[in-house]
Symmetry: C2
Subunit: 336 residues, 2 copies
Amino acid sequence: MSKLFNVAVIGATGTVGETLVQLLEEREFPLLNLHLLASSESVGQSLPFRGKNVRVRDIDAFDFSQVQLAFFAAAEAVTLSYAPRAQAAGCSVIDLSGALPADQAPRVVPEVNAEVLASLAVPVQVACPNATATALAVVLAPLRSLLTVRRLSVTACLAVSGAGREGVAELARQTTELLNMRPLEPRFFDRQIAFNLLARTEPIQGTGHTRSELQIAADIRHVLADDALKVSATCLQAPVFFGDSLSVTLELVSAVDLLAVQAALEAAPGVELVDSDDYPTAVGDAVGQDAVYVGRLRSGLTDDAELNLWIASDNVRKGSALNAVQLGELLIKHYL
Amino acid sequence: MSKLFNVAVIGATGTVGETLVQLLEEREFPLLNLHLLASSESVGQSLPFRGKNVRVRDIDAFDFSQVQLAFFAAAEAVTLSYAPRAQAAGCSVIDLSGALPADQAPRVVPEVNAEVLASLAVPVQVACPNATATALAVVLAPLRSLLTVRRLSVTACLAVSGAGREGVAELARQTTELLNMRPLEPRFFDRQIAFNLLARTEPIQGTGHTRSELQIAADIRHVLADDALKVSATCLQAPVFFGDSLSVTLELVSAVDLLAVQAALEAAPGVELVDSDDYPTAVGDAVGQDAVYVGRLRSGLTDDAELNLWIASDNVRKGSALNAVQLGELLIKHYL
Ligand SMILES: NC(=O)c1ccc[n+]([C@@H]2O[C@H](COP(=O)([O-])OP(=O)(O)OC[C@H]3O[C@@H](n4cnc5c(N)ncnc54)[C@H](OP(=O)(O)O)[C@@H]3O)[C@@H](O)[C@H]2O)c1
Ligand SMILES: NC(=O)c1ccc[n+]([C@@H]2O[C@H](COP(=O)([O-])OP(=O)(O)OC[C@H]3O[C@@H](n4cnc5c(N)ncnc54)[C@H](OP(=O)(O)O)[C@@H]3O)[C@@H](O)[C@H]2O)c1
């Protein structure tokens, strides 16, 4: 019999945490005991796992020496508080919050830079990149041998679930208010998100960019190991519950061979290419699926050294929970 | 007393047509008789104008020699059928449909290339550019003396009203079905638009681009008189009733002076610049307003010869009806 592991999920009651627990079951993660952790507010709740209800416990009282691996799927502050404790107890950490610095916890997308996992110290610390960067990396990696990208320009239309349960609840509430002709008072978002688009998902930083936009640039360069890549990113909040849509322009050093790009994407792991007479959408295709969907592949309108494409991806799955579980599968193979 | 004109509005019962009629009233267009035209289906309807109800008439029975100016705010096919008739009757034409070729009907944005109007033959034919191109031109024109744009990359998140009354009705219907947990059958759009984003607004052409994307590139080059400008455009359909949102990246030949750009935009006609600690939205700011709103002005994340910005604009007003009425105001000054 192969080895079984004790695992903790922090933030188990959240949008990402619940999906992560489902994926551990679906993908038959070699689990002995599963510990579901959240804040003290969730104590008493339980989640279904392998036909049983597993109780949610308070992270504060948790002894990390009981587990070999912990998935941190709560806010950044929670990772920053508890990951050191986990590590001190010899527990490896997969950070889904992006809180740990990249030099301590490299950002890894299994389809792209799994080789990074070969050289880490135990207990391991590794992180999922920003969800948009992950989707981009899955699509760009198989094209590396075909084309040299000078600039990547992405407009990411992000689902409200990217902001967790409260984002989802707010879009539903606002939409209902508006359809019932009741006056709208924005609460969770800073203004009307229903039937509207917000120009950013977070407050801006000093330079005018948001944290997610900075993360996209840093993470995509890190994962593709390409520090010279120019990145332009705009993250907007779309009135969509689940699934991110990315409009991408790649500026290349030479004319693009569309057929070769198509062939490479068709063969690429984790990618589903949709014919150019059709197109994928977040809700209709990507949500609930493992693959990152690519469509509207075309060379530039006015420049044949340009490639345009559209990506639809499940922000909660490949954007976070699925990528983390894949990392877990690799970690136990290499280290645990 | 100054001269008064007889004017026809074709497509008066449509999304653009109704707004156009309102604007003719609001802006005190020097009108003697207003003729509202639509298809035979609308005969019997009427629209309010200057405190009276004006009856809608069938375009088929209309004698264009009764008017000096006709606004074509119906489908392209309607312009192609009836604009020659108008012209033969000595009536000047403002084409809001983009049907007439640019060499016969130049695309004009009054704030940008009004000088084109000085050299046309009477009866005049002139057209509004694609709505996205118009918003872009209003914002880029005041920056021409400050920066040289090598490439303009835009992701246009377009409101369903861009597809007319049927687009608006379909988003409302789909949203209600979904909130009431009823099964969804897309009708007007080819799939679910409620709480989703569609990767295009129209079928693609041979090269992989849509008609609107091709129009944006052609119209922005034409209006800015810059044939060397590289343009990359993606038009996506957003679940928004009114108001377009544009995410824009400009690649420049040299580092950008943000303060100078800010000052130029603050002084520019038809532009409302929003501070970078805030941002405009289509629904919250642009809809119902004449100005094109600009926000999230910032230099590139990884390249200081890059400028990123966000534009929110009323697709029905400046995108179409307002621009057309402004053109009408100039035409009567110059020609009629
Ligand atoms: N949603 C996405 O698409 C997405 C994508 C990529 C990355 N992420 C990242 O994933 C993480 C979780 O996001 P989410 O969307 O799942 O958020 P969420 O739906 O708001 O859930 C937050 C989770 O964190 C738990 N939590 C809150 N305070 C805690 C504390 N003090 N100690 C322990 N647990 C605590 C919550 O438990 P209680 O019920 O007890 O409050 C809940 O389980 C975030 O870092 C987010 O940035 C999310
Ligand atoms: N909506 C926008 O944001 C926008 C922006 C820029 C440009 N445009 C362009 O403006 C034009 C009108 O768009 P819209 O959004 O207002 O469309 P719409 O809401 O669908 O209205 C269409 C109008 O055209 C009339 N029409 C249809 N068939 C006709 C015919 N055979 N003869 C005369 N009139 C006819 C309709 O009258 P009935 O009621 O009799 O059918 C209605 O008044 C289109 O060319 C569109 O591309 C629209």
